[in-house]
Symmetry: D2
Subunit: 227 residues, 4 copies
């Protein structure tokens, strides 16, 4: 998973400035970092979400299509552009689970827990995956070589192939994404994201934490719930 | 492609009623079908889009994942629920292009045109597709049989496998979808949708035309542009 | 405040049907009311929000402009059409607080509490309001009589004048609205809506409760938080 | 009308970078300003709207409430925070039309044209407006002095009073706003915005033009239609 921050305009200060227009109007204001902390914590605690929309993060992300599909289910405050399988030939980069990836799911739908696979399971997963990927890629190449259109040939490509996309979000929609796609014991609501999208979300959270430390701290403190 | 209309609340009357609140306010009004036609045509011509949001269509659609992916890029006024590859074992239903599907693309990105494939191209496409699908399915089954989690095993499944989803939209978001995912000589703006999503969109348009004949007529008359 | 339900397509069944596509896919299913209750409760508890978007309520609401302004800050999943002060002459219907309306606010911004006014306060409020409304209306009428455009003349009209609008929302956006614009001891998060928008929200909730009893019950049970 | 640009992250380059992920994927690319012009023009012409969402403008705007109300009807890609009449005492700043403001409307609803008022009309408008504003303000002050809550007292305030708000939008939602709230002979679709919101929109367009000259040029060239 590759997550790069391409551009950003995201500060704790802007959140406070937007929130204070409610109570101060057009007047100038002296900033006071301590008061900012209290204000941001209050806003997140009492679900005043709108001030957290005045900011912008643009990420470039490379991830397998099954991750991209989960990601793009997030609509509000999210903007996307993705590599096209109609306009270009995709590259042969495929997702193979690392050795430590838990392979066995236990529990019931919506609340799965995971435990490590046996060596044999890991071996089957590894071999089956490689075989399927290789055959898919060969079929794709054969069709392209015969002059078949990319948009037709692509139907054999697996959802484990990598795709690249840009996503722009704001601090509020980012927190909403993180609340559902990360996993934490501190979270007020349980979430069960797939490990692979967690790997993307965790990298996004690092950027968020670095750029908006006060907002991130309040987000964690109040149970990782988006306002 | 399977497109079923599950429920709907979509009438030309409601559009007119909503539009007339601008000029009539809370007062009761006698309907007059002829005036409705003029009003709807005026609204669409001059891009008064908001009245067209007071309605609802829910479709259940089965289509290959590459079509679902294009579909779900539509965010505004669209609500989705889709079959989950984490929560259930998918079924072995795969997309194979019909004999008449044009296989060769000419022209440049964003403006592709298509022409029929030769017999040899059709043969290569057909064989390559079948081989890749069969291998992918076998790999998937092997992993499941070994106890590997569905969410891991699914990464080998091709984007040509069928998935099922519900989508709810309103007349405005439906027209926006149709303006981009159908192809027509009457359209004011050229669009280049992939044939497979056109097959879905055309079926949706039939329902739209039947339920909201006046709105559909005005949509066509004004160049198939969403207001 | 006048709240009328104009059309609706909102059932607990549709929510379950949409949710079950995740786990059952395209297969037919026998309904089982008891299981529906458990499913809806689970969805709301664990914030699976998307199934609650497959439905539609259209209300016609008459309320003072200051209420309309608060209402229309809700954007996601909300569609509006409102009476126009440019296209029509507004009617002289103004909001006057009833005798029991608490007039005095105590506490700090964002957490106001209210207590009843004294007789003198009620008298001042009543007289001042009437004077201001009467003068505003007279000025408006004078301008219209002189041939001044409605869009210019309207600038004197108070935010206490009534306006009428249509709003269409889905069960999810309705719950989000109710979670912020009603007040309840059962609520997990405190909210401080103005009394006048509560009067609108409470009427909307009655319709919601009647049409979707299972969803409403789960909404209350899980702390009146929108998923 | 006061329109200030508070922060921005808006470049023609980012639009091109996002668009090119479709055809180039993750690969690095050399920029070429001439090609950027062609690409942006193509995107706008053929309604490829999504690349225009990767950017952000935050404005602080002071305008009369009747303008704010029209503004906030724009929902998609728009984020707001506004001065609160519940949390603070508003300031006595009111909108009075300048001498050159056309006062008389001719034509029919949705297509109004305007012509100058006579001296008498201007006099009536001016006097009526001042009287109404003065009475409203006095009533408001009387109530506040008596200890009546701000949220109750505000109902007498006219929609001509100024309010201040922050709005954050992206290049796409900004173009959509401009296409409806400015007036131009070059526009493909006729629009009939009220003069006062045009005054706001024109200032916003100046910032847009300065920061994203290539996108703005293409927007004008293709008839001022948002993609």
């Amino acid at each position: 998973m590759d997550v790069g921050l391409v551009q950003q305009l995201a500060t704790d200060e802007m959140i406070c400035m937007a929130a204070r227009v409610s109570t101060i109007g057009r007047n100038a204001l002296d900033r006071d970092e301590e008061k900012d902390q209290g204000l941001i914590s209050f806003l997140l605690r009492d679900r005043h979400g709108s001030p957290f929309e005045h900011g912008s993060f643009t990420f470039r992300i490379s991830a397998p299509i099954f991750v991209v599909r989960e990601f793009m289910r997030h609509r509000a405050g999210m903007s996307y552009n993705e590599e096209s399988g109609r306009y270009r030939e995709l590259e042969p980069v495929f997702y193979v689970p690392a050795g430590e990836r838990p392979l066995v799911q236990v529990g019931k739908a919506g609340q799965y827990d995971f435990k490590p696979g046996t060596f044999e399971q890991w071996f089957v997963a590894s071999e089956s995956t490689r075989t399927a990927y290789a055959t898919a890629w060969e079929s794709y190449q054969n069709m392209l070589a015969a002059g078949v259109a990319r948009e037709v040939a692509r139907s054999v490509l697996p959802v484990g192939i990598f795709s690249t996309f840009y996503v722009t979000c704001n601090p509020r929609s980012l927190m909403h994404f993180l609340s559902l796609r990360t996993k934490s014991d501190d979270a007020k609501y349980k979430s069960f994201p797939q490990v692979e999208i967690q790997m993307v979300a965790d990298q996004m959270e690092e950027h968020f934490k670095r750029l908006m430390p006060t907002t991130h701290e309040a987000f964690v403190k109040h149970g990782r719930v988006a306002p």
